[in-house]
């Protein structure tokens, strides 16, 4: 598998996008959009993360195995959060104390 060299120019496009997104998320953060604040901030964070992982960390050009490793790490965290929230968010749904 030939070594893929990413140019500094390509990196600079990613970099500029990341700075722009940071600026946007900060500006939006200063406005009160109610529930949208969370959504916007997290969506932008995920996009920034994807840019870093795909291009700075070269996952875009990497083997399927490396891609799978990234997915596995994130999926397992999602699992931890999801099942824990299953408990935390459903407490007090029944009329008995402690349930």
């Amino acid at each position: 598998m030939a070594e893929h060299i990413v140019t500094k120019k390509q990196y600079s496009y990613v970099f500029a996008t990341l700075l722009l997104l940071t600026f946007i998320t900060t500006t939006v953060g200063m406005m009160d959009l109610g529930r949208l604040n969370v959504v916007v901030a997290l969506v932008i964070a995920v996009i920034k993360a994807l840019l870093v992982v795909l291009f700075f960390m070269h996952i875009y050009w990497s083997s399927k195995l490396n891609k799978l490793t990234v997915v596995a790490g994130v999926a397992w965290l999602a699992l931890l959060l999801w099942l824990t929230l299953t408990d935390v968010l459903s407490r007090g749904w029944l009329p008995f104390p402690g349930k």
Binding site: L65, A72, G73, W76, L79, L80, L83, T84, T86, D87, V88, S90, R91, G92, W93, L94, G98, K99
Partner: protein
């Protein structure tokens, strides 16, 4: 009995001499032996705690030790046995030794990290030992908050730091195995030609890598809360002790699969070799290993049914817990089917395998009882649970470990163990084990709580049986310790393939050369292909 002559072939043991050649080795086989020495030490240390516990429980009143001492005893027994013995045991000894050999590699992917792994383990173990000598911990191996963060007066931080450090040893071993198995298999060795021990080690490594970091950060948070008063789990600030339990069990449930999967891998090897048959349903067993690893992460809440976890979450976890029993059951069925119409020989490893299959089945079945919400509410935190996990950890993993040690001892050391004594010990272990732990199922069912050092009169007869069993069990472990050491000098010289087994590790000398193989093997046959051996008829 004449003492054996000195080995003339260069092997990994004779290649270099001196303390430095061992302490700075990068050879996975030597590192495996370094681990073997360390974990054996911790096993016997944990056993000493168990002995004192069982002595205290001979009589109903708490008369041998104080209540707090008793708390420290079961805490240290659990911590040492789980974190310093069971978790590393098979992966770091037999796994380290045989994973590269079984795939035809010269070493693991990262030999220096492998050595670092051992030093990290020793550092963690030293921390725990130091904490123990200073007075130990009384929180249980589970470190539940807020007791461990706010009320315990014992060495929680130090012990926690020791476990945290040892956890990284586990992570690095898992990482090493995953990369090795993916990237360093011999030519022709496709995934479905791999021995099932490798599948088990792979699945184990997945759990080590994905689960351990969570318990590491959780213990770190407990230490930080105790040390810096950052009250993350402090109920006075709104912190949630059950959140601690979620984080703790997210690892600690899969951890039990870290402990049992390698044992299952050994059983697959042993059952096949001593019935001269390939494992029935190879792909099912392989996929079951991975299924156990994945499903094992979905069930942790079954440790928290009465912890004020919501009923809905408990229902979800209970339901999922039944699923995780399925792949284990598939394995038991497939091992049994392998035995069917096999040409069975009753060598010591096979005796341990029989013990495993029976005892693991009992342990696993009682696990499904515990997954049943209605039943669990009655027996949770009783000796029923204690019996359940000891059936799996001791009746399962430890038996498999002993079976594996006997199976591979000739390969590792070039010596045979004495078969008569070995068979006797296997029997003693089996009898001692059942006498120790079966009464505990009854005790739990009748209501004896766990972690209590005094109890009502009516439970005494079962405790006496259990302690009697424990003394028999102790003998059963001491005898192999003795004859294994004895065999290093006086054991019969082992041939390269004493069991006439398939598998790449048997195609090289006993003990192996430093580079494992004179030339890199090329694999053209399926796993467990006994027909080739019949053709070769090599002794």
């Amino acid at each position: 009995m004449i003492t054996a002559t000195v080995e003339t072939r260069d092997n990994y043991l004779t290649h270099e001499y001196g303390v430095k050649s061992w302490l700075l080795t990068k050879d996975h086989k030597r590192i495996a032996l370094l681990y073997l020495a360390s974990i054996s030490f911790f096993f016997f240390l944990g056993g000493i705690f168990a002995t004192i516990i069982r002595l205290e429980l001979l009589t109903p009143p708490g008369d041998l030790v104080s209540a707090q001492t008793y708390n420290k005893l079961f805490s240290l027994h659990g911590i040492i046995m789980v974190f310093l013995f069971l978790i590393p045991s098979i992966p770091a000894t037999l796994g380290n030794f045989f994973v590269p050999m079984m795939i035809g590699a010269k070493d693991l992917a990262f030999p220096k990290i492998n050595l670092l792994s051992w030093y990290i383990y020793m550092a963690g173990g030293a921390c725990v030992l130091y904490a123990m000598l200073e007075g130990g911990v009384d929180t249980g191996w589970t470190f539940y908050v807020p007791f461990s963060t706010s009320y315990a007066n014992t060495y929680v931080i130090l012990t926690g730091v020791g476990i945290f450090i040892a956890g990284f040893s586990s992570i690095l071993t898992g990482l090493n195995f995953i990369v090795t198995i993916h990237r360093m298999r011999a030519p022709g060795l496709t995934w479905f030609r791999l021995p099932l021990f490798i599948w088990s080690m792979y699945a184990t490594s997945l759990i080590q890598v994905l689960g351990t970091p969570v318990v590491a950060v959780t213990i770190l948070l407990v230490a930080v809360e105790r040390g810096f008063h950052l009250g993350i789990f402090d109920p006075a600030l709104g912190g949630d002790p059950v959140l601690f339990q979620h984080l703790f069990w997210f690892y600690s449930h899969p951890a039990v699969y870290i402990m049992v999967l390698p044992g299952m891998g050994i059983i697959s090897e042993v059952v096949s070799v001593y019935s001269r048959k390939k494992v029935f349903g190879y792909r099912f067993v392989a996929f079951s290993s991975v299924a156990i690893a994945v499903l094992g992460f979905l069930v942790w809440g079954h440790h928290m049914f009465v912890a004020s976890q919501s009923v809905y979450a408990s229902l979800v976890f209970s339901f999922l817990s039944f699923f995780v029993a399925v792949p284990s059951a598939i394995k038991v069925f497939n091992w049994t089917a392998t035995l069917y119409k096999g040409s069975i020989s009753y060598d010591t490893p096979m005796l341990y395998a029989f013990g495993f299959i029976g005892l693991f089945t009992i342990g696993g079945l009682t696990g499904t009882f515990l997954a049943t919400l209605g039943f669990d509410v009655h027996v949770t935190d009783t000796y029923f649970v204690v019996a359940h996990f000891h059936y799996i950890m001791v009746g399962g993993t430890l038996m498999a470990y002993l079976g594996g040690m006997h199976y591979w001892w000739p390969k590792m050391t070039g010596r045979m163990y004495p078969e008569g004594w070995a068979k006797l010990s296997a029997l003693v272990v089996f009898l001692g084990f059942n006498l120790t732990f079966f009464p505990q199922f009854i005790l739990g069912y009748l209501g004896m709580p766990r972690r209590y050092w005094a109890y009502p009169e009516e439970f005494q007869v079962y405790h006496v049986l259990s302690t009697a069993g424990a003394s028999v069990l102790a003998v059963g472990y001491l005898i192999p310790a003795a004859y294994f050491i004895w065999s290093l000098r006086y054991g019969k010289i082992a041939p390269d393939n004493p069991w006439n087994a398939p598998g790449l590790e048997w195609q090289t000398s006993s003990p192996p050369p430093p580079e494992n193989f004179e030339i890199t093997p090329v694999v053209t046959s399926e796993a467990y292909d006994y027909s080739i051996l019949e053709e070769m008829k090599v002794g």
